[in-house]
């Protein structure tokens, strides 16, 4: 097989991986601060995808523009979820949190089925069928735009946590819960804000994914699983780790598919996860628990 095939496939895998990374970033942010594993993560992303679809049909705006209102709506939803539903479970056993979030996931899937039906639905933009040709490389334009947007959103998120007072306060809560309370931080409110920010990330990733793929309620659980594979590979709670995990999973799936058999490409992503768990259980960029 010509080398250009491997180059094309690797480029496509990396671009898809960036969007995957942004999706997983939301999960990593929430776990890193609130220490709650969001088992409704994929279902929330499917909700964001449907929201993008509805807004696109109503306003005819580009999904990459709609990313802003969708992220805002998801922020509010995440904030309310944390403040109203999850905060009371913060100090309860982990299995209670697990059951709560699985229940939320099931409710979301079924509501989406009732409202939107089971069929796949997609968005057709003016660049849906475009591709860029650069020498032997033929790259999907939609993936390039979505990956570019993912990079911008990820950079904004890193800047927020690093340079803003609110971002530093949230990091303080993540580093030392008691210390944060002693210095007078409203930890419950910061938790709700963090869940909102994580959900906004999911919203932005959902809007971007609508550019490159269709949505059905059934893809929610698969997306949750994918996000877990990515954050565990990259390091649970590490934001750069989530992006790196997304890139690695995207690349592994793509090259595994072309080198072996495409129907088994998910197998290679899981094989990578097993290797990471064996040799670096905290994830590639994760910190070992002390």
């Amino acid at each position: 097989m010509p080398v250009e095939i491997y180059l094309n496939v690797a480029a496509s895998g990396l671009l898809t991986g960036l969007v995957y990374g942004l999706m997983a970033l939301g999960l990593s942010v929430i776990f890193g601060v609130v220490r709650v594993v969001n088992f409704a993560h994929g279902e929330m992303m499917t909700l964001a995808m449907f929201l993008t679809l509805v807004l696109f049909n109503a306003l005819k705006l580009d999904p990459l523009v709609l990313m802003v209102p969708v992220a805002a709506v998801m922020f509010v939803l995440g904030y309310l979820m944390q403040a109203g539903l999850i905060n009371p479970f913060i100090n309860r056993p982990e299995h209670s949190q697990f059951m709560l979030l699985v229940a939320i996931a099931l409710v979301l899937v079924n509501v989406q089925l009732i409202v939107f039906g089971p069929d796949a639905q997609g968005i057709r933009t003016r660049y849906s069928f475009d591709s860029f040709k650069l020498g032997p490389l033929v790259t999907d334009a939609s993936k390039v735009y979505a990956a570019g947007a993912a990079l911008v959103v990820a950079a904004a998120l890193f800047a927020f946590f690093r340079f803003t007072l609110l971002g530093k306060a949230i990091r303080a809560c993540a580093d030392n819960y008691d210390g944060a309370r002693v210095v007078g931080l409203n930890v419950k409110r910061l938790y709700a804000l963090t869940f909102g920010i994580g959900s906004a990330c999911v919203g932005a990733a959902g809007a971007m994914l609508m550019v490159v793929s269709d949505v059905t309620p059934a893809i929610g659980p698969a997306n949750t699983l994918l996000a877990f594979v990515i954050v565990i590979t990259g390091g649970l709670g590490s934001m750069p780790g989530a992006l790196l995990g997304g890139l690695l999973i995207g690349l592994t799936e793509a090259l595994g598919g072309v080198l072996f058999t495409p129907s088994a490409k998910s197998m290679f992503a899981f094989a990578l996860l097993v290797l990471v768990l064996l040799f670096r259980p905290q994830g590639i960029l994760g910190r070992r628990e002390t």
């Binding site: 793509a254 495409p262 129907s263």
Partner: protein, 403 residues
């Protein structure tokens, strides 16, 4: 016997005799209770709901052609084999005298077992797995081609299309979805193909995950093989994904030859508009020239103006047609009488391609033929076999960037 006893017996006999015509009239007036099992929720919900659409249209057509009306009892199999089995049990308990369904081979197999145990006739609308009618069942009938019949006809029809267009691809890639249906077709593909002298050589076989959200790798691999034609066994969503990738990767095969659903479906054509033109589907279809086809098409278009008649509608309609025809000839809803009547079915004025509806000793309609439908101008044209076509096939496909 004394005079009083004789009078009583005579009076009783007279009463029975006098009332018996009323009994006949009541039997004739009663409707056959038909339990229709379809996957109306779950992963096959879209298809199950599509099959169900034709039920509303069927009543009027049966009346117009002089067949008795049916009492339809609906049941949702939830796309699940175990649910299909329990719903079939429940329908029979609630009085269903004949069952119809269930689109899927696994679910139809489960219902067939129940129907056979309970002695209730079961007319399968859509299910291609051969074993269903290989079990020696007495109450199970299938008016749908088996997977080997579909494949055999597909190759025969391909040869007809290549001859008619003068375009014979020399190489092909075979791509199939990696589920039960796709694997069954893949296993049959090589074996059945060896019975025909095909002009092309299959360079590569590529299977892909039915839940895949991105098929760029698969299409890149197919494109790299340098094949002239793409042979597909897919579903709807993957057919759309593959077409998008073909366009993005700037590859237009000379022919896309599909041996399954997806490429002819309404959603495919609506989603892709003119970019959905060109593929040919080798599928169980209808003969547009038959009288009943025109009647069904007109009624269906009136009821669902935005949805074209397709395999799901045709074979669900014909299953109900078989039920009504058998009920009329049996003159009774007795299950055995109904099964005997179905076994001797001989409906010449039907809809599907082929000489008509008859069942062999196994309960299989082995006379069914496939058709070739091509997407052109956003419409579906039947281009083969010649006797059941309304247009001529066109190959090679117009390049995607020149539309």
């Amino acid at each position: 016997m004394d005079r009083r006893q004789f009078t009583k017996v005579a009076a009783a006999a007279g009463t029975v005799t006098a009332l018996s015509p009323l009994n006949i009239a009541r039997a004739q007036g009663a409707r056959l209770k038909v339990g229709v099992l379809l996957p109306r929720s779950g992963v096959q919900a879209g298809i199950g709901q599509d099959c169900h659409r034709v039920i509303d249209v069927t009543a009027g057509i049966l009346r117009d052609i002089g067949l008795p009306a049916l009492d339809i009892m609906n049941a949702d199999t939830e796309s699940n084999v175990d649910v299909a089995r329990s719903r079939a049990e429940r329908l029979i308990s609630e009085g269903a005298q004949l069952l119809v369904g269930a689109f899927d081979s696994g679910q139809s197999t489960a219902i067939a077992q129940v129907a056979e145990q309970r002695g209730i006739p079961f007319v399968i609308n859509i299910a291609a797995a051969p074993p269903i009618t290989e079990q020696g069942y007495k109450f199970v009938f299938r008016n749908f081609p088996t997977a080997p019949m579909i494949l055999g006809d597909a190759f025969a029809n391909q040869l007809e299309v290549f001859q008619a267009t003068g375009v014979s691809p020399k190489s092909a890639v075979f791509m199939h979805v990696n589920d039960t249906f796709g694997q069954a077709m893949q296993k049959g593909f090589t074996g059945v193909m060896s019975n025909f002298t095909m002009p092309y050589k299959v360079l590569q076989t590529i299977s892909y995950d039915p839940a895949a959200r991105d098929l760029s790798v698969e299409v890149a691999k197919a494109r790299a093989s340098g094949a002239e034609a793409l042979i597909m066994v897919s579903r709807l969503n993957d057919a759309i994904l593959i077409t998008r990738e073909l366009i993005k990767q700037r590859w237009t095969p000379a022919a896309i030859l599909s041996m399954g659903p997806g490429w002819y479906e309404d959603q495919y054509r609506k989603t892709l508009a003119k970019l959905g033109d060109g593929p040919m589907s080798f599928v169980p279809w209808y003969d547009p020239n038959k009288k009943l086809s025109k009647q069904l098409e007109a009624a269906h278009t009136k009821a669902f103006p935005d949805i074209d008649l397709n395999t799901n509608h045709i074979y669900t309609f014909e299953a109900l047609l078989v039920a009504a025809d058998a009920f009329k000839r049996a003159g009774s809803a007795n299950p055995k009488a109904l099964a005997d009547a179905i076994r001797t079915t001989n409906i010449r004025d039907n809809v599907s391609t082929g000489p008509g509806i008859q069942f062999d000793a196994k309960g299989q309609n082995d006379k069914l033929r496939n058709s070739v439908v091509q997407n052109r101008g956003g419409k579906l044209l039947t281009v083969a076999p010649k006797g059941a076509a309304n247009a001529k096939p066109e190959l090679p496909m117009t390049a995607y960037d020149k539309r």
